[in-house]
């Protein structure tokens, strides 16, 4: 008996030991109990959120809740050692509406489907099989399968619907094979002649109908009301004629030319229209002749009519499998990134929503414009919508993510695992007044409140205040266009004995200005939500999307800043310390530079010192190009003048330098800067956060440059030791000299020929380190012109409700702070109401 009891006890012990071991592989997921409502506000509420037509952020707002991408980004648990409870640092992409990662079938499709024209040399990157998630359904439980995807793509590309989002699938890097032919079927699409073949009028042939065609027989047109990126910086000829009229143009034939333009703003190129064009632009004021007319040409491409959708690169290859064929090779992160959105629509509602406009060929669709016309396949569904008032979402109980066991994460704050989407409902209402939003937030009725100017002093140091940087760096653009400045000085109204502008063009002077201002102090004074800007490329730019690594964190970028701000790295323990020491403010260096500028200006005859008091006789009034007066500009200029006065005290320019606001220039401010008619402005560029390399074009391409009139990147050489080997080849470092424009072009994928050798350092061709070296070198070279002096890193500040917290506090350009998926609640709705009541309905932040 004792033996038996002992055996049973032993068996029980074994069971007790084995069971926990057996369950080791299964993570314990915590459960949420209660209601968690996310209360949000918008200034304007969209009236339509059709995935095929949305344009604004208001319109895309509901889409985030109602849809799921084929692939999705999540925080990377592997990079998060929960033991130490460190926050997440990285992200990974995983299938969502897809069941698996895409499988490259380029070779197979190339052999079986010649209609897609996959290049003979291509072995990968053109065709992918995507297995679909079989659990995916619409909110009503109807299955989503391959037919849904194919139908929806056909609907998206339907030429008669003219959907705004159609171009996302053929004009960018993600281009579905032949999608463009289907979308444009039976039409002529035009591109700017200057961007294409740059045909002169003599190169063209006149057709039987009198319309000129190019060497390939494509019709040519005149871009009357068609944006010309290369020639008119994205404006149209009509824009200029409307703005300047007879001041610059001969308007005698203008109306006749305008009347010939079609809906695209293109007039067919005939002898008659050519004559009208030459007449309009051939004026002394506009400075062009018939020889310049070809700059206004647009090259047409006639798309075949009745194009068969079977030739478009999306195919059903199984009940839950589609094959996507691309017109341009794409792989890795960029492929998955482009598939992180979705295009599917619910056929029944979509078809029912179509309406023809009168007797015309135009159609509209009311899909996704009300509760009745909306069908979700995402984590939430729309249950209430009131125009200009509110919309409410609740959990979509048919969304696969709630039951597939994959939508979980570990909270670094406690190391426990939780299901994503703790939020049970989303209430969004229109609250246009910022003051009302603030009061609602303080009463616990909103989850967030974007700080207004008056709030910064009170809340910027709150533990609930979060700063979100954006891509834009605002810099001072400094006028270096000596010819324009001398013309301005030659005017009768300009008193050269009292004023001077030429000194502005001296590098020593501009360098002095660059170290006159403490960037952070400037932000605090004029725009507290922003932070100091130090380089041309902001802190948000990611150079390696796979890892999320940011450009400004690289050694190359740090060295670029040290060089620009003349920081001796050897004096610091590390490069990081050296960079951290940069404030942009060095009054001692600034005073020396102003003195140097004075000497140079005197020697050049820009200024005089007739009374020999060691001070300039002339004052420098720097005209700030103001689009319209605002409190921000007034505050900024006051601050600039105050600090300038402090720094130039005791120098030859004491009391002689002043920023002066121009008359309101409206949208002309950039043209005035480019023409050298105004001397400075806080301007900025922003690009894709995932492509810092593309920014170099903005500083080396005359079409975009603010300083194109006085800085020609094609004449400035840069010599670098770079690895010219392609990825996968043995390292081959060479010393290469190219001009800045060539370096920029090569960095962005163009093949550049130098001394008979071709170079290309584009994405996927050159290794990342080489590309970073080139980028940092271009940034340094452009900075050293002192045409651009970085001042502010754009950003915003917002308070987060005490009801919730971010699992990850650090902002990531891809993940943000996790969004609604990772939002964690400190209180459920009932507890929150009680907490707010305990605090007399007025919370302290």
């Amino acid at each position: 008996m004792t033996k038996r009891i002992a055996s049973i006890v032993a068996l029980l012990l074994v069971v007790c030991m084995v069971l926990p071991m057996a369950s080791c592989g299964k993570v314990k997921v915590e459960e949420f109990v209660g209601e968690y409502t996310y209360n949000d506000s918008v200034v304007t509420m969209s009236s339509n959120w059709n995935p095929h037509t949305y344009q604004t952020t208001d319109e895309s707002y509901p889409i985030d809740f109602l849809t799921s991408g084929l692939y999705t980004f999540i925080y990377n648990d592997e990079l998060n050692p929960v033991e130490g409870k460190d926050p997440y640092k990285g992200y990974v992409i995983r299938p969502e509406m897809a069941a698996e990662m895409p499988v490259d079938v380029t070779e197979k499709i190339k052999a079986e489907h010649p209609e897609f024209n996959i290049p003979e040399s291509a072995t990968s990157g053109y065709a992918y099989v995507i297995k679909l998630n079989k659990d995916a359904t619409w909110q009503n439980g109807v299955k989503i399968n391959a037919d849904t995807y194919v139908y929806s793509m056909k609907a998206l590309l339907d030429p008669k619907m003219d959907n705004y989002r159609a171009t996302d699938y053929f004009d960018g890097s993600f281009a579905i094979a032949n999608a463009k032919n289907y979308y444009h079927q039976g039409t002529i699409a035009y591109t700017e002649n200057m961007l294409q073949n740059k045909y002169a009028f003599a190169d063209l042939k006149k057709g039987a109908d009198g319309v000129y065609t190019d060497a390939n027989g494509n019709p040519m047109g005149i871009a009357v009301n068609f944006a010309l990126q290369e020639w008119l910086s994205g404006n149209t000829l009509k824009d200029y004629v409307d703005a300047y009229g007879a001041q610059y143009f001969n308007l005698e034939k203008w109306d006749a030319l305008l009347a010939l333009a079609d809906a695209n703003g293109i007039a067919p190129l005939t002898d008659e229209s050519y004559g009208y064009l030459v007449s309009v632009i051939s004026t002394t004021a506009w400075g062009e002749t018939a020889d310049d007319a070809f700059n206004y040409f647009a090259e047409g491409y006639a798309y075949a009519d009745n194009y068969d959708f079977a030739n478009v690169g999306i195919m059903k290859t199984g009940e839950y499998e589609i094959t996507i064929v691309l017109g341009k090779a794409l792989a890795g992160f960029n492929l998955l990134y482009n598939l992180s959105g979705n295009w599917i629509v619910y056929e029944e509602l979509y078809e029912a929503g179509k309406t023809k406009v009168g007797d015309t060929d135009a159609w509209t669709n009311n899909y996704n414009s009300s509760v009745e016309t909306t069908m979700s396949y995402g984590p939430y569904k729309l249950v209430e919508y009131q125009q200009d008032k509110s919309m409410k979402f609740v959990k979509n109980e048919n969304w696969f993510g709630y039951t597939d066991g994959k939508h979980i994460y570990t909270d670094p704050s406690d190391g426990k695992t939780y299901p994503m989407y703790q939020t049970t409902a989303i209430n969004c209402q229109v609250v246009a007044e910022a003051d009302t939003r603030k009061l609602m937030f303080l009463q616990g009725q909103l989850m967030g409140y974007g700080l207004q100017t008056d709030d910064y002093a009170e809340y910027r140091d709150s533990e609930y205040c979060y700063v979100t940087p954006s891509e834009t760096i605002f810099f001072f653009i400094f006028n270096g266009y000596l010819d324009a400045i001398q013309k301005r000085e030659a005017a009768d109204t300009f008193d050269k004995s009292k004023l001077d502008l030429e000194t502005l063009t001296l590098v020593s002077f501009r360098k002095a200005v660059a170290v006159t201002y403490d960037k952070e102090a400037l932000c605090t004074a004029v725009s507290p939500a922003r932070s100091g800007g130090y380089g041309l490329i902001g802190t948000n730019y990611i150079y390696d999307p796979e890892s999320g690594a940011q450009y400004r964190d690289t050694d190359q970028a740090k060295k670029a800043l040290c060089e620009f701000y003349s920081v001796d790295v050897s004096k610091y323990a590390s490069l990081d310390e050296a960079v951290d020491s940069i404030t942009g403010y060095d009054p001692v260096a600034a005073k020396e530079l102003y003195k140097k500028a004075f000497d140079e200006a005197l020697a050049a005859g820009y200024i005089t010192d007739n009374d020999k008091d060691g001070k300039s006789d002339q004052a420098i009034e720097i005209i700030y190009a103001s689009s319209a007066s605002s409190a921000f500009i007034t505050k900024t200029l006051d601050y600039l003048n105050e600090k300038m006065a402090e720094v130039v005290a005791g120098t030859p320019f004491e009391g002689k330098i002043k920023f002066v606001e121009s008359a309101p220039l409206g949208n002309e401010w950039s043209n005035e800067i480019k023409a050298g008619n105004a001397d400075t402005v806080l301007g900025g560029w922003s690009g894709s956060a995932l492509d810092p390399f593309g920014l170099t074009d903005l500083y080396t391409n005359p079409s975009y440059q603010y300083d194109a009139k006085w800085f020609n990147a094609s004449t400035v050489d840069l010599t670098l030791d770079v690895n010219v080997a392609k990825i996968g080849e043995a390292k081959n470092v060479q010393t290469i000299t190219m001009n800045l424009k060539q370096w920029s072009d090569a960095l962005n994928g163009a093949t550049v020929e130098v001394n008979g050798t071709e170079y290309c350092f584009g994405d996927g061709i050159a290794d990342v380190d080489t590309r970073l070296n080139i980028l940092a070198a271009i940034e340094t070279k452009v900075l050293m012109t002192y045409d651009y002096i970085p001042m502010l890193q754009d950003g915003s500040m917002a308070l987060l409700s005490q009801q919730v917290y971010y699992v990850v506090e650090e902002y990531n350009p891809i993940m943000g702070r996790g969004g609604i998926r990772y939002m964690k609640y400190n209180y459920d709705d009932t507890a929150w109401a009680a907490y707010v009541a305990e605090n007399n309905n007025e919370l302290k932040y």
């Binding site: 509209t364 009061l439 009463q443």
Partner: protein, 318 residues
């Protein structure tokens, strides 16, 4: 009276037609809202414009407009970004109830208080009570309603937590929670209206109370209360009641700022929006509607004089 009312109505319709024609032609003479190049909306809007005859003579366009309105009740489609593709008539009618109900509550709230204060001030003429009420009336009339709105929102809604900060969502216009959520806006609008009624009532009643027939009534032996209620009030109402009718017409227009502060999904911002966004179909609908309302209000007020005071026989050619 019936004949007079019919005459006025016919005249009103003719006036409305002329105003509509003028507005329509002037609006169509303005440059059209520029359409973004390459935006698919552009093609749809251009197609709509073509269908509406934008390239035809103005009178033909007006004919198409009248045909669409009278045969299909089609006032057009919004072309501007915010309401792109929405039927303007549906958009307007969907936003009308919120404005109407807030204004209605405001007037219902204001009438008894305004008249009571006016009577009280008139009866206590030239006393400190009258001076206090008159001063408050001046303040209320002089200070814009949005100032009250901010004060009410901050004090009553935020500090004292008596009402919600913004109007409740939904279309349960006559539910208790909706009523409570409308109160801050109602109060904000009411101050001015109360002051208006008070001033009118006080002025009329003061004048009537000093009339000779009131002296006669008192000498007949009536008490002051009897004389005031039976004689003075009746005469005073000849002016006050039409102004009440006029005020009711005003409930159809929204208040841009009040609606914005309290997030009321009303018509207040539509007019300004239609002008700023160059949304001509919306602008024409609003112009016609408010012109019609204004003209109708004139008739209602004029006709009401006859009902209130039988001595008034307007348009009589006896």
């Amino acid at each position: 009276m019936v004949k007079y009312a019919l005459q006025r109505t016919a005249l009103m319709l003719f006036t409305l037609f002329i105003i509509t024609l003028m507005c329509f032609v002037l609006i169509r003479m303005l440059p059209l809202a520029p359409l973004p190049i390459g935006d698919p909306h552009t093609a749809v809007i251009e197609a709509r414009r073509e269908a509406l005859g934008y390239n035809k003579p103005y009178l033909v366009q007006f004919g198409i407009f009248l045909r669409d309105v009278f045969t299909k009740w089609d006032w057009g489609i919004c072309d501007s970004a915010k309401y792109y593709g929405k039927d303007v008539a549906q958009l307007f009618t969907s936003k009308l109830p919120a404005s109407m109900i807030v204004n209605l509550y405001s007037i219902i709230f204001s009438i008894p208080i305004g008249i009571a204060l006016g009577i009280f001030a008139a009866l206590k003429k030239n006393t400190w009570i009258d001076h206090t009420i008159s001063t408050l009336v001046m303040v209320c009339i002089s200070v814009p309603s949005f100032v009250y709105a901010f004060l009410i929102q901050y004090i009553l809604c935020f500090k004292l937590n008596l009402f919600p900060l913004v109007m409740k969502g939904g279309t349960d216009w006559f539910s208790w929670p909706m009523f409570v959520s409308m109160m801050p806006a109602v109060l904000s609008l009411a101050f001015g209206t109360i002051a208006g009624f008070t001033r009118t009532t006080r002025a009329e009643l003061t004048e009537v109370l000093t009339s000779e027939f009131m002296l006669l009534a008192r000498t007949k032996g009536l008490t002051k209360r009897q004389a005031t209620v039976r004689h003075a009030m009746k005469n005073c109402m000849v002016v006050v009641l039409p102004s009440i009718f006029g005020s009711f017409i005003g409930i159809l227009s929204g208040s841009l700022i009040i609606e914005k502060i309290f997030s009321i999904p009303g018509v207040g911002e539509l007019y300004l929006y239609s002008i700023n966004a160059l949304d001509y179909p919306l602008f024409i609908l609003l112009t016609v509607f408010y012109t019609a309302i204004g003209l109708a209000a004139g008739i209602v007020v004029d006709v009401s004089y006859g009902f209130i005071d039988p001595r008034i026989r307007m348009g009589s050619k006896k």
